[in-house]
Symmetry: C2
Subunit: 248 residues, 2 copies
């Protein structure tokens, strides 16, 4: 396996709720041509399916080794970085980048032997806001203002091409600046934090406003290190124990 | 129309003998998302076709304005630069480049108000050698050695993306170094040259060897200016007249 192939093989493609099995197959074909092999499917409408096999052409092995998951969190477990894709810049989220900007970040993690993910939403509805909040940033293909709706497999092809182009350019990927935390750990932290904020009365579960999305955004921007997530969870644990002490 | 759109609208996408109408539609969609609009179809198996419309999604206007041609030469008439695409580097042709290398050359012509073309072959057979000889160079998407077979529309998407990416990068495209000749003129020159070479006995029509492809390659490498093609055709005309004098 060449060093480029090794790099690319550490990047997951996650398709969330794909409607058309043909698109799953076409995405698998797009992946394999660009050297990507790890396909994750979150609640696909139909899979496996003969239409997926037909559209995969010579990439049925990618389908055969695809992992079907019940949630995006499950598909991201074990990865340290996830970028959601959207054909629209969602300015509100503010953390969008071009494929060109996103590729070095993904390849940097891959180069350090860790896994990163590109997350693609449903053909019609894209990713939900909650799903986008599970990603560290948003990637938008710079499409025409007149018509920006790329086919799902076409979007996979473009992102795969950009990753491969930059991997082949043979830049020495910089050492990542942090030892990034597993995204499953980060999700656990958010859950604990939300519970604790509700317990202390800072967050009203009946009217949560945008508190958790805002906190997520803060941590997504810095990106949490493994050590930091341990510290934060330790603080939460201590606060919870202390909170119980008070109630007792 | 933005300057990027104006630049991209001068680039033709030529599909030669596409078998599947669905691929024509998907290619039209890929084009429109990247701001390309000029679709040329050389002897499509079926067109128009409801499957093409369905796969075009919101890009049926690209299909409606597509020009159906009887030959590649017809589709290239009026353009000054044509790059053929292939998933294999054909080393024999020697004039291949990456999409990254090809884009500035195409955009340079577009920036000078002239038309350039990207030529895509049949899904199974690609472009014939004769068709590749009608192109100035070959563009190859850097695909995996394990599996390099991009779907036709996926290849259009990648090339379109690379053109758009570079057009958006907003580089000031250099003035082209030559006032390039119309490809229809160049083809007429090759025809006249071949006839003349046969007439003087340098080329044996029964055993032409690789003479014309080699001459084509020579001129493709330099690229002929409008003035030069006039000079060369003038020389051929004079030689022909002189040839006739001798025979008389």
């Amino acid at each position: 396996m060449s060093s480029v192939d090794r790099l690319l093989s550490a990047i997951r493609v996650v398709l969330v709720r794909p409607s058309h099995p043909g698109n799953i197959g076409a995405a698998a074909r797009a992946m394999k041509t660009m050297g990507l092999g790890r396909l994750y499917l979150v609640n696909p409408a139909r899979f496996p399916d003969p239409q997926a096999d037909a559209m995969a052409s010579g990439a049925t092995d990618v389908l055969a080794s695809a992992r079907v998951c019940g949630s995006l969190a499950e598909a991201l477990s074990g990865a340290v970085l996830a970028f959601g894709t959207s054909t629209r810049r969602r300015e509100l989220l503010a953390r969008w980048r071009t494929p060109e900007q996103a590729a070095p970040e993904l390849l940097t993690e891959a180069g350090a032997g860790r896994e990163a993910a590109l997350v693609f939403g449903n053909e019609t509805y894209g990713l939900s806001n909650a799903e986008l909040e599970s990603c560290q940033a948003l990637v938008t293909v710079p499409a025409s203002a007149d018509y920006s709706s790329l086919n799902l497999a076409a979007a996979v092809q473009v992102l795969g091409y950009e990753l491969r182009r930059q991997a082949l350019a043979g830049a020495a990927w910089p050492q990542p600046q942090i030892e990034a935390a597993d995204l499953a750990e980060v999700e656990r932290f958010y859950r604990d934090l939300e519970e604790r904020l509700a317990a202390v009365g800072f967050l009203d579960p009946a009217s949560p406003k945008r508190l958790m999305p805002k906190l997520r955004r803060l941590f997504a921007r810095t990106r949490l290190a493994r050590e930091e997530i341990n510290i934060l969870r330790g603080i939460l644990g201590a606060a919870t124990a202390r909170g119980r002490d008070k109630i007792d």
